[in-house]
């Protein structure tokens, strides 16, 4: 048994099993960590995602595999035989058959593997608990609600329209994804295209939540694209903002926002929830948790819970969520031309969303008789608070005394609501 042991050990070594794809994905993971650590690209998410990516591609270990995957990876021949028998295929096709199994067959295969003593890998368990259930992105959304001050939006509700316009990036991307199907190698369903499109929402938890429901296989690429482009907002947005506005428009100084009462702040999340209940129940998980977190914050009577949502819970969940997303960056799923398509579409999504927001800003500029600086429309893509800061910066370039930050916060947080609404529409129509 010892020779068998040594042989087993050698067979268990990474270098004896490392595939090119896995090596490439390890480099991708390293790149994500590099971007997070050295370039400050959304490190709270991209560092765990990058690390999870490396772990998911450790050969043999199968950290991102379910119990059936573990059986396939290191299973004894008799166990593989049992699995083949269960799936009704010859032994040579068991791997492919298991990969395509779903519904009752997958459940049965998992039960068999579990009874034979194979347990799912660590990252798979994280994914199963945190993302499959939808719980992790929703808890993060609750934390976002508890961290967000909607005052600017309440003071000037018309900025909600800027948050609406910027969602055009989502739907243009949807068209783009379907258009890509004319190229060989692309075969996006309407569900796939919808999941990809949500990148244009510029909102991480919403993107992860929707992708986990509509296209789990693409989740890794979608999350990476969403967070990467959010980090690139300061580079992507300014040229578009400058191209679409005149110097005079950019110089517009906006009047100070009125103060907002505590009661308004308490009623705002309840108002949003009520409208969601009446008109778009499919957005209820997202809008519900966002407004719940915000109510914890604004009610003023549950500071313990508000702080927990803003700190302990969001931090712990972010760690698990990041590793779980990373688990979807397995070579065989990520290394495809579709991923390149998703990355390209993501860039388009941000550009179109920004442009749509700015154009809507120009409309409001006209309608308001010049009181609205169209730049703030760019903040409608969300990417809170980076997009608002970018608006402020571009505004300052045009007029050194023009601080647009607070005015951009309105469309900025409106964009969060807007993309949750868009996600609700996609879930209702495509996910039904």
């Amino acid at each position: 048994m010892l020779e068998h042991g040594i042989e087993a050990l050698w067979q268990s070594m990474g270098i004896a099993n490392l595939e090119w794809g896995q090596l490439l994905m390890v480099l991708v993971g390293g790149l994500l960590i590099f971007l997070a650590v050295r370039k400050g690209f959304e490190p709270l998410l991209l560092l765990p995602i990058g690390f999870g990516c490396i772990l998911a591609n450790v050969p043999v270990a199968g950290l991102a595999e379910n119990s059936v995957g573990q059986l396939l990876l290191g299973g004894k021949p008799e166990h593989l035989n049992e699995l083949a028998q269960l799936l009704g295929v010859p032994l040579s096709e068991v791997k492919a058959a298991a990969g395509h199994a779903n519904g009752a067959a997958l459940s049965a295969a998992k039960a068999l593997a579990h009874n034979l003593g194979y347990e799912p890998g660590m990252l798979y368990q994280f994914y199963d608990v945190a993302i499959s259930t939808g719980v992790a992105p929703l808890l993060i959304f609750m934390g976002v609600g508890a961290l967000t001050d909607f005052s600017a939006l309440i003071a000037k509700p018309s900025t909600l329209l800027l948050g609406a316009a910027a969602q055009f990036g989502i739907f243009m991307t949807l068209i783009g994804a379907l258009a890509l199907n004319v190229f060989p190698g692309f075969d996006f369903t309407l569900a796939d295209a919808s999941a990809i499109a949500i990148i244009g929402g510029a909102d991480g938890p919403t993107a992860i939540f929707l992708a986990s429901k509509l296209a789990p296989d693409l989740l890794g690429a979608i999350a990476v694209a969403a967070y990467s482009y959010m980090a690139l907002v300061p580079i992507i947005q300014p040229p578009i903002m400058r191209a679409l506005t005149t110097e005079a428009e950019r110089q517009v100084v906006m009047s100070q926002l009125r103060p907002v009462s505590k009661l308004e702040k308490v009623l705002f999340p309840l108002t949003v929830l009520l409208l969601c209940l009446l008109f778009l129940p499919s957005a209820a998980p997202l809008i519900g948790m966002l407004t719940f977190g915000n109510l914890l914050r604004e009610s003023g009577v549950v500071d313990r819970l508000s702080k927990a949502a803003q700190n302990e819970i969001i931090n712990a969940v972010t760690i698990i969520l990041g590793l779980s997303v990373g688990s979807k960056l397995q070579a065989d799923k990520f290394l495809s031309v579709e991923t390149l398509g998703i990355l390209a579409l993501g860039a388009i999504a941000f550009c179109v969303g920004t442009a749509a927001g700015v154009l809507m800003g120009k409309v409001m500029h006209r309608v308001s008789g010049g009181k609205v600086n169209p730049l703030i429309g760019a903040a409608g893509v969300s990417a809170v608070p980076m997009a608002a800061r970018v608006v402020n910066k571009v505004g300052l370039e045009a007029n050194h005394h023009n601080f647009l930050l607070m005015h951009a916060m309105g469309p900025n947080v409106a964009g969060v609501i807007g993309s949750a609404v868009a996600a609700g529409v996609l879930l209702a129509v495509v996910g039904g």
Binding site: I154, A164, L178, L263, R304
Partner: protein, 82 residues
């Protein structure tokens, strides 16, 4: 089939943007109404200081916070002295 899918996508785009704009437009007016109502009843805008601090589980909170801060400040001073 493909052009069919494309058509569906375009339809979804119009539907989606319509609903997003519709929903947020309704929200604009609802928030305006809410603010107007709030302003009218502005007199009640101060949460009455609840006569009984509500949380059973907060019983020893205050003392603990004081203790934690006391310890923290002491350590901070020690660390400055060190």
């Amino acid at each position: 089939m493909d052009s069919n899918l494309m058509l569906e996508g375009v339809g979804l785009m119009f539907l989606g943007m319509g609903i997003v704009f519709g929903f947020l437009t309704i929200l604009v007016f609802t928030v305006m109404g809410m603010s107007a109502l709030t302003a009218r009843f502005g007199a009640v805008d101060h949460v009455e200081p609840s006569s009984h601090p509500p949380a059973a589980i907060d019983v020893s909170d205050h003392r603990q916070v004081v203790a934690v801060i006391t310890a923290a400040v002491a350590r901070y001073r020690a660390s400055r002295g060190a």
